[in-house]
Symmetry: C2
Subunit: 478 residues, 2 copies
């Protein structure tokens, strides 16, 4: 043992050893550390010494003890941003970001850029070849029927599978309470059409997914932004106050692993949300697209699980978990809205193609989905931690970053004065994209924020984040 | 020879023989009769005698001589209906036929009914197995890319094929002037969104395809019905007058083989239509879905072929010719509207699935489409004649029926007093559907009209039309 260590207690030496394992990256955030017994054997110290070492590291905030499980590396990323934005009641506002947004969305498709901006799942995690083989098999079996209109509600075998899986989110639905759509985005659009008329106002969280704002814009609706906490989600207090003063027609919300913040409403908050909506007789359009990508073994409840009055229209899809290119999404809704949804889907495009739906149904019915999902979740959980940590290491001092418990997007708040809109073209020059904060707000808020997506993580990822960090530090300090 | 024939001239005997061939159904409307030489050999009479016989039948309106081709059976169906409906200028009207229409559309899917109501193509005429094999092949070749978002304008290889085929309709377009959609219906919906705001009025022909009315209803638009002649199409005089008095935002029209009448605008009328629209700075949303199904060897021009001011948004799809179940349609449009159309497609559903588009592209690129199309056209041309003749034979006296030169729908005008809405449930009891006239009008006109579709024709078809005819004769005479 070297001199400096000789003055340390035995347990302090063990703690130093573990700290080194963490700081060198051998164990990352949220990963399980060696068990007490293993460490005792490896280092030839007593169980009590290892326990004391872990207790010390716990006190220092470096590790976390989980009952019946062991010790885990704590997040070392900065605290997430807090509730931001206007908490005063605001008037509904027209949404008009079409051209502004299109520019980013076009960049998000470029293969020559590192796509921190785009929330597409990692193609390497998708069972693409297997789905394609399934589609070929089904097409052969079904024959002529594979080339017929599949009118709403759409392919029954898939609706049965979706109804079964809905149980995991606490939703008990019959297959006839499922309607297939062209991805989650069409589901959201049809739900807005089913609940609102042009000129009506819709509550959205702030920041919110730009796709929500696009649908609102397209249909000539207005947005009322309600601040959303990056951990706890929509401020129910602000919602309550706003609904007293502003006439709105619907609430549109990611209740779990919201895009872009990753925030989730607790079960209690979901129930309270429904009570508030009940008082105003308002429908909730629930965007649950990331719900299945919980980093924990079990997914959280959907707000629809607490819905006793057929007030929630739940929208989701397989685009984040299985097949973005197959464009298979759905709405769960009861008799209050379902007949109108059938009409609207029929009026919009008659129905979706049936073969992609059948290919996914085939994949679900042979039980492959749950195994596949577990793997995806593990990858994304790790990558989200890696990215949050890299942001903490490389972005300007004072940067805050979310630690989502599901999905693969993180929300970064830079020091005030950073302007992600003007920084964006510089990032493109560096060969990468990000989601500039203002595309997540109808009022162009969050100029000092950005969304980063972590579908990928390899040796080239952190160097690109280092580049971005250098840019931010250089430009934000001016 | 029997006595009655002995008093006839030789040529009259030949004419009687041919007349019998026609009346017994051995040769149907528009079919080529035996050549003069063949008949002369068969009946052992001189060429001159046969020529005299044919001349007599021509005078009687039973056959038609076509230069360099021979003699053909003339249509024996009654004259088509004439321009109907209100020719006075009318105010725009809200469209609210959702539930009323849904009932018929649901019946149109029932496999236990003979579907005279539904304009689905005959599955036996579609290259379904070949398309499915093509999709499997392409999915394997393209790998991961087959499971990616295909954002607007969508799959380039297919857009190149569509741009090439557009030349046949007189349209010279670049691939970037093509945007893929989920069938023609989505193309129409997006074009309405691109040109109108809620509350705006849109000109439609009367009668018009119910899908046009559905899209107008869904988007909160109003309809202005302009009478359409079952042969010559939209009354330009009525349009001209209406545009002077009523503010409208767009014109939505089938210019070729309109659904339900089968009418086409002449090239001159198309040019005049564009002049009128130019005077009012109005866009034309041109529904060309049946354009490729001309019964003649060459298809007619699209109105877009005459468009010098980027005013026409042409909508079509492969749903009638190739693959209703693949949901592949498109818009042809220039720089005036295309950027907005890209936005709207993206906002609605991000994009269509790419594999169906690639499967169709594969089918087109190996040259199989033109051969396939010739066969379809031949079938439908014959079946439309057979159906029109069966209507003439079996429906109440005074019935008028169209003789479309493309597509496979015919429009039937029953004697005044027949009410196709109230007759409809009786038809369902008989085991068949039809399209009741009022679903083709925002104002519920055409109660004594109905649409029949002729995708099928076999031994069981005419007996079903006989049943329908019996019902009509029994109920309309009351």
């Amino acid at each position: 043992m070297v001199a400096s260590e000789s003055v340390l207690h035995r347990y302090e030496q063990v703690a130093t050893h573990v700290r080194h394992l963490i700081e060198s990256g051998t164990y990352s955030s949220q990963e399980k550390l060696p068990s007490v017994r293993n460490l005792s054997t490896q280092l030839q110290v007593s169980i009590t010494t290892v326990l004391e070492a872990y207790r010390m590291l716990e006190d220092q905030g470096l590790v976390e003890a989980r009952p019946q499980s062991g010790y885990y590396v704590n997040d070392r990323t900065p605290l997430p941003p807090r509730l931001a934005g206007q908490t005063l009641v605001e008037d509904p506002v027209d949404v008009g970001m079409g051209e502004f947004l299109m520019r980013f969305l076009r960049d998000f498709q470029r293969r020559d850029l590192v796509q921190f901006g785009s929330a597409c799942p990692n193609p390497a995690f998708l069972p693409t070849a297997r789905l394609a083989r399934g589609m070929g098999k089904v097409a052969k079996e079904i024959g002529l029927q594979g080339n017929q209109y599949d009118i709403p509600p759409g392919c029954e075998t898939l609706r049965v599978q979706i109804a079964r899986r809905a149980l995991q989110s606490g939703c008990v639905v019959a297959p006839e309470e499922v309607m297939l759509t062209l991805g989650c985005q069409e589901a959201l659009t049809l739900c807005l059409l089913a609940t609102c008329k042009a000129g009506d106002a819709v509550v959205v969280e702030s920041p919110t997914f730009y796709g929500h704002l696009q649908a609102i814009e397209m249909l000539g609706l207005k947005a009322v932004e309600i601040p959303s906490d990056p951990v706890h989600g929509l401020s129910l207090a602000a919602l309550r106050q706003s609904l007293e003063d502003v006439p709105v027609r619907a609430v549109l919300l990611c209740t779990n692993f919201s895009n872009p913040t990753g925030a989730s409403l607790s079960d209690d908050d979901k129930q309270e949300l429904l009570e508030i909506l009940g008082r105003h007789e308002l429908p909730l359009i629930e965007d649950d697209i990331f719900g299945d990508l919980s980093h924990a073994p079990h997914r959280p409840h959907a707000a629809r699980a607490f819905d006793r009055h057929d007030r929630v229209l739940l929208c989701s899809s397989f685009s984040k978990t299985l097949a973005p290119g197959y464009r298979v999404g759905w709405v769960l809704a009861g008799p209050r809205y379902m007949p109108r949804l059938h009409q609207l889907k029929l009026f919009s495009n008659l129905g979706s193609p049936i073969l992609p739906a059948l290919a996914i149904s085939e994949f679900l019915s042979n039980g492959a989905f749950e195994h596949h999902l577990r793997q995806c979740k593990r990858h994304y959980a790790r990558q989200v931690c890696q990215m949050a940590e890299a942001v903490a290491r490389n972005f300007p001092a004072g940067t805050l970053v979310t630690r989502p418990k599901g999905g693969f997007v993180i929300w970064v708040e830079l020091p005030v004065g950073c302007d992600t809109r003007t920084l964006y073209p510089k990032a493109i020059e560096l060969g990468l994209t990000f989601g500039p904060g203002p595309i997540f707000s109808a009022r162009g808020r969050f100029r000092n924020c950005l969304r980063l997506c972590a579908p990928y993580w390899d040796a080239s990822t952190e160097p690109m984040l280092v580049r971005l960090g250098d840019l931010l530090r250089a430009r934000c300090s001016r």
